[in-house]
């Protein structure tokens, strides 16, 4: 009865990258290894490899984003692809065009890959289901569902600093309920064999039964980050206050804001991560954000290599990707 995995082609290779869900550990490791081979490219004088020359990649962003769209664009250009950036929230959909019509029109322009961000959970699945067979789809964030390239760049950062995932304790702090980043991180950490994944938040920011996600739950920050190797802070959206989920930023920082003092509970060599952009003084204070444990800016640079890896793999050029070392 089980349906074929929509993300894989008939040979079990990555065709679309929509979610970490249902991908095997070997596949995630292959993404990380391929990304490792691309990190050198950004340090060369000529920052390009010709893997996707002649291919057209369309960045289709229905939600505003600077960081994610830019790193996808840089990644595509370093692979020598032609890049089409469409900010759709300001164009066709406001004229009443359906998403399916937008897709068909762009297909007619012979696009080879869509990188899509949309406010609806499941939007990337929808594109992958309806796109022509030769087209690959990469999810750059869909509603509250998934943001798999962000999760993989986080895994890449953790592996760079900590080596193996087995034996690691990782704590994710903040708004897990509304976070596509957290959902993808939890799946990736568990698939890669992390010993213990913890989430730390008040119950209003957690799904009804978070244990179904495969995590340990803490409501107290200091207790939750005790002896962890990695602390991942999530961004707190301003609208959480109006939705009666939290009383104030002030109380949130009092309870869940990361400070130098609180970080002492974690392991001495623990790293601090954040998907950005940071609300300084809400999720963490500046001392931590700019301090020696913070790897937040490394996450951004690794994001390019990881996105190059996913793009080349889904376009079926990962074999040459390894040769670009």
């Amino acid at each position: 009865m089980s349906k074929p995995n929509i993300q894989l082609d008939s040979h079990g290779r990555l065709k679309h990258f929509l979610t970490i869900d249902s991908l095997k550990r070997e596949m995630l490791t292959e993404i990380l290894d391929t990304a490792e081979s691309f990190t050198g490219v950004s340090e060369r004088v000529v920052k390009k490899v010709p893997l996707l020359r002649g291919k057209t990649i369309c960045n289709l962003f229905f939600e505003n984003s600077t960081r994610t769209r830019t790193t996808f664009e840089v990644a595509a250009k370093r692979l020598s692809a032609d890049v089409l950036n469409l900010n759709v929230s300001t164009s066709s959909t406001t004229k009443g065009e359906t998403l399916l019509d937008t897709l068909r029109n762009l297909e007619a322009m012979h696009v080879d890959m869509f990188v899509i961000r949309h406010s609806d959970s499941g939007a990337a699945h929808f594109f992958a289901t309806h796109a022509a067979p030769h087209i690959s789809v990469i999810n750059a964030g869909d509603g509250q569902h998934a943001h798999p390239t962000q999760a993989m760049l986080d895994m890449f950062t953790i592996r760079r600093h900590k080596g193996e995932f087995t034996g690691l304790r990782v704590a994710i702090v903040g708004d897990v309920l509304h976070s596509r980043v957290a959902r993808s991180q939890i799946l990736a950490l568990n698939t890669l064999g992390t010993s213990e994944v913890r989430v730390i938040a008040p119950r209003t920011l957690l799904p009804p039964d978070p244990r179904t996600l495969g995590v340990h739950i803490f409501h107290d920050l200091e207790e939750g980050i005790r002896d962890v190797d990695v602390v991942i802070m999530l961004r707190l959206q301003k609208e959480r206050m109006t939705g009666a989920l939290l009383p104030s930023e002030h109380e949130y920082f009092q309870l869940y804001g990361l400070t130098e003092k609180r970080l002492k509970a974690a392991k001495p060599d623990a790293i601090v991560m954040h998907p950005g952009p940071i609300n300084r003084g809400v999720e963490m204070d500046s001392q931590v954000a700019d301090g020696p444990r913070s790897v937040i800016l490394q996450q951004v640079s690794f994001g390019i290599a990881v996105r190059m890896a996913v793009m080349s793999m889904t376009m079926g050029t990962q074999a040459q990707g390894a040769a670009a070392r």
């Binding site: 869900d21 359906t98 959970s121 929808f126 569902h145 009804p208």
Partner: protein, 434 residues
């Protein structure tokens, strides 16, 4: 065209739960009415004979909720198209919710609907009136005028009354005139912007959840007001086990409370949304396996007295978008009987009980004289072959209203003949008829 005069249906297994009949026998029909069962009346000559050997003959199905999209959305479907589909599905009585355009909140709309139905319908249409003007939940509609024009009950459609004072007044007013209030229990604030049952699946897919409490909180409120006002209330489209248990308790306390469930709710769960299948975007949402079992249990005990199709045909592209952006609802007429029969296969109900839930059960809830086979009653009859296997195929569905999650499902039991007021309104190609 058949002459409406006299028909005999011979040799079928007659199942009429209202009268406790389950035996092989014959039915005799004259001028749209059943005139005898067993032996023909004296001097009876049949113009038409249906050989129902090996088949089940039961009352035409009564569906408490089916949208025709007429008036207002004839570009989707019409009374003619949907009643033809109902006839193919063995359904002879359809109750139409008031959320048409214009809303069924004045006698003029009722008259319009009934006139159009008379012209083109192959089934009986019974309008349900709007409880408040424009379904806005502010001012009471002219419930008595609506009832006199032909409305069989009042409801506020999918827009539950947000204001408890308005609800109290509406129920008091309805109770004064013996009108049944159909309530879709939902607390709007708890529903919030949800798209799926709040549980492991919504957590995994990142779909904002609708908690079970969105239904049970409303049921608690509605039951309290039913007790306070003495109004006869009918809960429409139960989805949660908690609500079913609360209603069972209320019935034990002899409150005049009844309930229905959509056929799909008895077979699907939140798990069926897997990978964002927009055909499973439904209102109320598909809930947990435990909820489904509790609903089946309540159905078996008779706490839930009726299964309806909650038929909602949609435009072809209404489901072609990412899950949260799609319209809710499924086209359910074709699967009402087969999904009910599947409950018999799965040991939930006996065959006669199952048929009761789609014939006399819903009819009794609204005090209608249909869904039964006895001399003097309207000759609304469904004949089906209980052994025939078939698969619901997309191509075999009408162009609008293909929105169903049951495409590809295999069913057992298929309608061969439908009679409405004694007239043959459907006959399958492979049926025997002389």
């Amino acid at each position: 065209m058949n002459s409406p005069n006299s028909t005999q249906i011979l040799g079928g297994r007659l199942i009429d739960p209202a009268n406790g009949i389950d035996r092989v026998t014959d039915i005799f029909i004259h001028n749209g009415k059943i005139v005898a069962i067993g032996e023909p009346p004296e001097g009876f000559t049949a113009h038409h004979t249906i050989d129902a050997g090996g088949q089940i003959v039961c009352p035409g199905l009564v569906d408490l909720s089916a949208r025709m999209r007429e008036p207002g959305e004839e570009h989707i479907t019409t009374i003619a198209s949907e009643t033809a589909l109902a006839a193919r599905s063995g359904i002879t009585t359809l109750c139409c919710p008031p959320d048409t355009d214009p809303v069924i909140d004045t006698p003029a709309v009722v008259t319009l609907l009934l006139r159009r139905a008379k012209r083109s319908a192959r089934a009986r249409l019974l309008p349900i009136g709007a409880m408040t003007q424009q379904l806005a939940g502010e001012y009471l509609s002219e419930m008595v005028a609506l009832k006199r024009a032909g409305c069989v009950a009042m409801s506020n459609g999918y827009a539950p009354l947000a204001n408890t004072l308005v609800e109290r007044r509406a129920l008091e007013y309805a109770a004064t005139f013996g009108i049944t209030a159909i309530l879709r229990p939902e607390d709007r604030h708890l529903r919030n912007n949800g798209y799926a049952h709040e549980g492991p699946v919504s957590a995994r897919l990142g779909l904002p959840g609708i908690p079970e409490a969105a239904e049970s909180v409303a049921v608690a409120r509605d039951l309290a007001l039913a007790e306070h006002t003495g109004c006869r209330i009918h809960f429409h489209l139960l989805s949660s086990g908690t609500a079913a248990r609360m209603i069972e308790q209320a019935q034990q306390q002899r409150l005049q409370v009844s309930a229905n469930v959509a056929a799909h709710q008895l077979h699907l769960t939140e798990m069926d949304i897997e990978d964002f299948d927009s055909n499973c975007h439904l209102n109320p949402p598909l809930r947990s396996l435990a909820d489904r079992e509790a609903l089946r249990n309540a159905l078996a005990k008779g706490v839930i007295g009726a299964i309806c199709s909650d038929h909602q045909p949609l435009k072809a592209d209404a489901k072609e978008a990412p899950f949260p952006s799609t319209a809710t609802g499924m086209a359910g007429l074709q699967t009402l009987l087969p999904l009910t029969l599947k409950l018999v296969d799965e040991g939930v109900l006996g065959l006669s009980e199952a048929i009761a839930r789609i014939t006399c059960g819903p009819a009794d809830i609204l005090g209608l004289p249909y869904g039964r086979l006895q001399p003097g009653s309207s000759a609304d009859i469904c004949i089906f072959d209980p052994h025939r296997h078939w698969v619901l195929k997309r191509e075999a569905m009408p162009s609008s209203g293909r929105n169903t999650p049951f495409i590809g499902w295999e069913f057992q039991g298929q309608v061969t003949h439908t009679l409405f007021e004694g007239r043959s309104v459907f006959q399958s190609d492979t049926s025997t008829h002389s």
